[in-house]
Amino acid sequence: MTLSERMYLPAIAQGLGITLKHFFKKKATINYPEETRQRSDVWRGLHVLKRDENGAERCTACGLCAVACPAEAITMTAGERKKGEEHLYREEKYAVTYEINMLRCIFCGLCEEACPKAAIFLQDDKLAPARYERDEFIYGKDRLVEPLKTTETK
């Protein structure tokens, strides 16, 4: 240590100078509920089950996402499409139930990657919210499927 370092004070004064400089600096804080930080386009947020351009569900219940999920958070049951449901489901098979346990989900994005139909998608603009009850985290089709784009909302 040099003499000035031995004296404690110069280094302390330097430190105080740095902190004082920051005292007057612009603050880095983002006021979260009012402002949100910009997320990347590829951010892996809350899942959505996509519809195709005609509004039919893309999912064909092949089960690849469930297999790819390391957390085993996805369950589904497949069903055969009946006649007259072509506008609802794109393929001949569809998922009757489709559940993701958001508590187990680790948002790794492997399901999105595994999906051969580009049906499941992790949105960048939505996050899974905090809730009070454990049951509320089983996201069924009602909460996962993209809302239908009706003509009114266009």
């Binding site: 031995r6 590829v42 492997l110």
Partner: protein, 416 residues
């Protein structure tokens, strides 16, 4: 390395240890108090417990207990297809998950015999060095927090946010990155990511220099760290130290140089070494490594070669989505890969990378099946944490805490 301070008095330490043994043997000695440090003590950032025998403020003995967040990585790995193990490695050393990801991928690539293109290798290097920076940054700033200087921590945490922004742009997550795939990266660096890296290279040196200015030559900090938790080079080797903690004792072992991987031999950088292996040396070595990492990133960023970001290995690397919809062959590969029906060749490989804390090794045994037969992680934290007792005995409680934070023990890596 500047270590112009008083030398650690080994004779004195030895004398202390002899005295201690006498005191500890004397069970009737009522002056010793037992102090239970952890598992929820603020300084045990992860979770580990130490039962200390104290003589006043001086630690006479410590019995470490670990396993409080044992998660059975190695067992899980035996039940998962290769590509699903990447999310596990994220959670091992979560301060620098990309290094773990890449290390694992390289191990599997070694097993499968895939060579990946230069561009992907360079991207990996950038990401790994960013991860190293974020790892060292947390370690050194936490050292400040534990010694009472909280503010520097928040200054550098802001920079870590910027590193996370880059991660986010590359892979879509902040901490548990799940970055890269077997055979390359999952996507190329976007223009925005490149821009962010460029910005980071410009801004970070200033912040880091400021952080160093606040602590490095402050006498209070020097007094607190010099000679604290020192370990000799021989003992460190015997304890299997690697990484910054070994280099602080003066041994320049670095996997990036000894066994270069992912084109590390293309880059110019130095291995900083300390001399006494104490907390201050570890701090300085990490600080210097951050500068070296910056140097590496700069070189990789400037010389980023053109080319593909993944290997041409259709058996192992998922085909692009567009092809899956159109080409039957791609669809079949896609299904096979996702279902984990790709049989890996028989064999065993060991691959190690220089993780944030040292040699992070993956020992992979494959019996030709779809999952690893055995995947053993050489977790540097687990290996060097056992020296903790030896390092803190004879010091004070405050020393023990600084030693712990300067060792950068990551609970996820410790307990696996």
């Amino acid at each position: 390395m500047a270590t112009d301070n008083k030398t650690a008095d080994t004779d004195q330490l030895q004398e202390f240890r002899d005295n201690r043994d006498l005191k500890l043997q004397d069970k009737k000695n009522e002056n010793l108090t037992t102090l239970n440090l952890g598992p929820t003590h603020p300084a045990t950032h992860g979770i580990f417990q130490n039962i200390l025998q104290m003589d006043g403020e001086v630690i006479m003995d410590a019995v470490p207990t670990i396993g409080y967040i044992h998660r059975a990585f190695e067992k899980i790995a035996e039940r998962r297809p290769f590509y699903q193990i990447t999310p596990l490695t994220d959670r091992m050393n979560y301060c620098s998950s990309p290094i773990n990801n890449m290390g694992y991928h390289m191990t599997v690539e070694k097993l499968l015999g895939i060579t990946i293109p230069k561009r992907a290798q360079y991207i990996r290097v950038i990401m790994m060095e960013l991860a190293r920076i974020s790892d060292h940054l947390i370690c050194n700033s936490i050292l400040g927090v534990d010694s009472g200087a909280f503010t520097g921590f928040l200054y550098v945490m802001q920079e870590r946010e910027h590193i996370y922004d880059i991660y986010e742009e590359v892979c879509g997550a902040r901490l548990t990155t799940n970055m890269g795939r077997i055979g390359g990266m999952e996507r190329d660096l976007s223009p925005k990511a490149l821009h962010l890296i460029g910005e980071f290279l410009k801004r970070f040196p200033k912040v880091w220099a400021e952080f160093e200015k606040m602590l490095t030559r402050n006498r209070i900090f020097i007094d607190r760290t010099v000679g604290v938790g020192a370990i000799s080079a021989e003992r460190a080797l015997s304890y299997g130290f690697t990484g910054p903690n070994l280099r602080a004792t003066g041994i320049d072992y670095d996997v990036r140089v000894m066994n270069p991987y992912s084109s590390y031999d293309d880059f110019e950088f130095e291995i900083p070494v300390g001399s006494k292996g104490d907390t201050y040396d570890r701090y300085l070595v990490r600080n210097e490594e951050v500068w070296q990492s910056l140097k590496i990133i700069e070189q990789a960023y400037k010389n980023l070669p053109e080319g593909s970001y993944h290997a041409d290995a259709p058996h192992y690397y998922l085909p692009p989505k567009q092809e899956v919809y159109t080409s039957m062959e791609a669809l079949i590969y896609h299904f096979k890969i996702v279902m984990g029906e790709i049989d890996a060749p028989k064999g065993e490989v060991y691959h190690s990378v220089e993780g944030g804390n040292g040699e992070l090794g993956f020992y992979l045994v494959s019996d030709g099946g779809r999952t690893p037969y055995r995947l053993h992680f050489r977790r540097p934290c687990f290996i060097y944490y056992q020296a903790y007792t030896e390092m803190i005995v004879g010091g004070q409680l405050a020393d023990a805490i600084l030693t712990l934070s300067s060792l950068n023990v990551i609970a996820g890596e410790l307990d696996a």
